[in-house]
Symmetry: C2
């Protein structure tokens, strides 16, 4: 143990310097202007993997942003861990709310502040450093492969095909991922399930041009009013999604399963305070943790239409648009849901408007058993570092590609995440606690130990 802590302690400054190099690259996968940055970031990642001791580190082109792959095969007979991570990040908008520039990482109050500090540069980089620990004196106890992609934040549109084409290269026994959140530093947890995602964009068009709202208001359907009406009708009074067939494949948990998930500590007041609201909402009959963990939901992620600049303009706009996503639970097929949504949404349109619906991206949810040897090894490692047995938890977010990789590689994912809610990933001032970064490296090192001792 002390040897691991020494390794981390002696190298901690260098680890941060290296991570900052990655954080300075604005690898926003959803914005075309950053295409070049994606390549730069992938190359830098490959460089760090090589330096840490990996072989064959390479940046592979895909139909989208490139994939980084590297490996250390010590013995084909030994088990193989595939580390999955992503080097792409979310957009920084709204930029004006950042306290420091998103791509100029800095440390404040014991945390790294930067876009990607946690999600997923900070978390994925812990694996490079844990790997380096074993490589430093040639003690790697199993084979390790790295798959670091550049399209997680946009739904990994290219990785499925690439993984299918590189099935042999990626062959493994477990897919190890740090891209999730713990309940808290005092209540470490391991994610055993995540929600799927269907992300749609809709457009409601009324008149063929913007009209004067005084001349036409009252007689011509206003696309914004119509869109609001259609969006409002997507969720009923009980907080249930109205898309016909939406709940068909949703598995209702037994009382026992719900009781087990209910053991996770949850303080409603603390939770509300942490996000600055005075009340929670959601589907009738479920607790807040169930609503974000085991139940699907629908959120408008963006809406725009008409005059949105300073001052007033009396316009009856030609169109209004929205980005609408649904979080799905395991067993709901995002492709089926996207079709059901499109059909239903169009059916809500009144006369006088036309409606377009397209799917941005999607992914299946997944569930992992807590009885597996990989889960047990991870739990033992985390317990040793945190001094408390971790709680199995269900994550509300989505890593759509995981179900795909699990299916192609026939290996289970293990989600050892070290993020905290305070990190506000996807938001301004994303951060990652230094203590979690170092404890994460330590936990991963121990995971390899217990996983190969079994």
């Amino acid at each position: 143990m002390s040897e691991i802590k020494d390794f981390i302690g002696q190298n901690s400054n260098r680890f941060l310097e290296e991570l900052f190099t990655l954080l300075r690259i604005p690898s926003v996968s959803s914005q075309k202007e950053h295409t070049e940055d994606m390549h730069t970031c992938a190359l830098k990642y490959a460089e760090f993997l090589t330096k840490a001791g990996a072989d064959n580190a390479k940046v592979y082109p895909t139909t989208g942003h490139p994939v980084v792959y590297a490996e250390k095969i010590i013995d084909p007979e030994k088990p193989t861990v595939l580390v999955y991570g992503h080097y792409d990040v979310q957009p920084v908008d709204p930029i004006e709310l950042w306290d420091s520039p998103p791509f100029e990482p800095e440390i404040r109050d014991g945390a790294i502040y930067a876009r990607g500090a946690n999600d997923d540069k900070g978390q994925s980089f812990m694996h490079v450093k844990a790997f380096e620990y074993y490589m430093a004196d040639n003690k790697l106890p199993c084979n390790v492969k790295f798959l670091i992609e550049g399209e997680e934040e946009i739904g990994s549109p290219s990785l499925g095909q690439w993984a299918e084409e590189h099935k042999e290269l990626l062959a493994c026994d477990v897919i190890l991922v740090s891209d999730t959140t713990m309940i808290s530093e005092k209540v470490p947890s391991i994610t055993t399930g995540m929600r799927g995602l269907a992300y749609m964009e809709v457009k409601v068009t009324g008149p063929d041009k913007d009209l004067h709202s005084g001349h036409y208001g009252g007689a011509v359907a206003n696309p914004i009013n119509v869109l609001c009406n259609m969006i409002d009708r997507l969720i009923d009074d009980k907080g249930r999604i109205t898309v016909p067939g939406f709940y068909n494949n949703v598995v209702e948990l037994t009382e026992e399963e719900r009781a087990m998930l209910g053991r996770a500590p949850f303080d409603e007041n603390e939770y509300m305070e942490s996000v600055g609201v005075n009340a929670l909402i959601g589907e009738e009959g479920y607790t807040p943790l169930e609503r974000t963990g085991i139940r699907p939901c629908l959120d408008v992620n963006g809406i725009w239409g008409g005059y949105i600049a300073e001052g007033a303009k009396t316009v009856l706009p030609s169109f209004a648009q929205a980005k609408i996503s649904m979080r799905l639970v395991p067993n709901q097929d995002h492709k089926v849901i996207a079709k059901l949504f499109a059909k239903h949404f169009k059916s809500l349109a009144p006369a006088g408007v036309t409606v377009e619906v397209e799917e941005h991206h999607g992914g299946q949810g997944f569930l992992a058993p807590i009885t597996s040897s990989v889960y047990k090894a991870a739990a033992k490692a985390v317990e040793e570092v945190y001094g408390i047995e971790p709680v199995p938890s269900r994550g509300g977010g989505s890593i759509p590609i995981l179900a795909t990789l699990e299916n192609i590689l026939q290996a289970p994912p293990l989600l050892m995440g070290f993020g905290l809610e305070r990190d506000t990933i996807h938001s301004p001032n994303e951060s990652y606690l230094l203590s979690q970064f170092y404890k994460g490296i330590e936990s991963i090192i121990l995971f390899y130990k217990y996983y190969t001792q079994e």
Copy 2:
């Protein structure tokens, strides 16, 4: 008659050149970046008035954008016409839909294309030229005053106070305005009533920062979904506005009055085709022309919230905003309505969000009698130019300041407008037919003649 036509024919090119000088100045009153342009435009207007023969042309500062005033007093015993117009224009957004730059006027297919071509530079400038006709050989039959303001498109926030302070200067017998629309070139009309306006901006705030929609979706109220719900509840299934007390002072027209307004020709198919919709909507029990003329309505003029750029971002945003305006009918007080709206809108907010409501600007509607001598003089002038007796009509738009000026100056407004629906004011590709520009000048010249002959 032929003398008037000769005057216009011989000077038509110069008239256009002068008007284009005004149209090239981007005097957008709602945008701070154009503050300097407002002054430039006001000065240019004063210069044209002086050149046309007016005395004391002056640009007066106000608490907002400046006011242009000029006059020609030939005999204090004679009646005085106050010409009201405005040199400010609407924003040009969405700029990408313009076929030619909005502030580089050009003539295509017999029409001037530019922001302000009609509203109101083109229309107000006709009065300068009609005035010039009489000044050219010293035949002005009455006193004329010009009041050209720079804040009409933002609800004239400063003009009321300025007019109150300059009551004596502005004293008049009729307020003559060209800032409205005719039914068509073949069906000339004179506007005898306009709707009032209450223009609000609302903001719904949920969490104190943007959240990850996967982690929180389903448990934390999404401000966009909430805003859509609240907006949807502002209008009921019968197309009626749900704000309590909203209809209290709305005067129901008698069957006879409705029948008279119904005489205005209206082809529903042509109307739908002109704006590119396949159905009309609106308040149950009223015709389309009634819905835009004699009934109030509510339109969302703009909405925004969350991620609205390219691609997808899985965000549960902190807030969502909208600009919402209500067109009012005479007798509805916009200040009362704004208060009722704010109270009602806030009452629609569910737990978990806070709501802010502010009023942008507003104005009262008004009605003018068709039995007055000024109306009769205008009707006679228009009939002489168009060969058809004009129809009295009710305009759906608003010139909020008119009710205020009427009240301060105790003089009735007369709305001789020469715009057409095809001009798409407030929209991209605003235009003004040359034929209407010239016929407008001719009609105004004749109005002075018949008004002073009475």
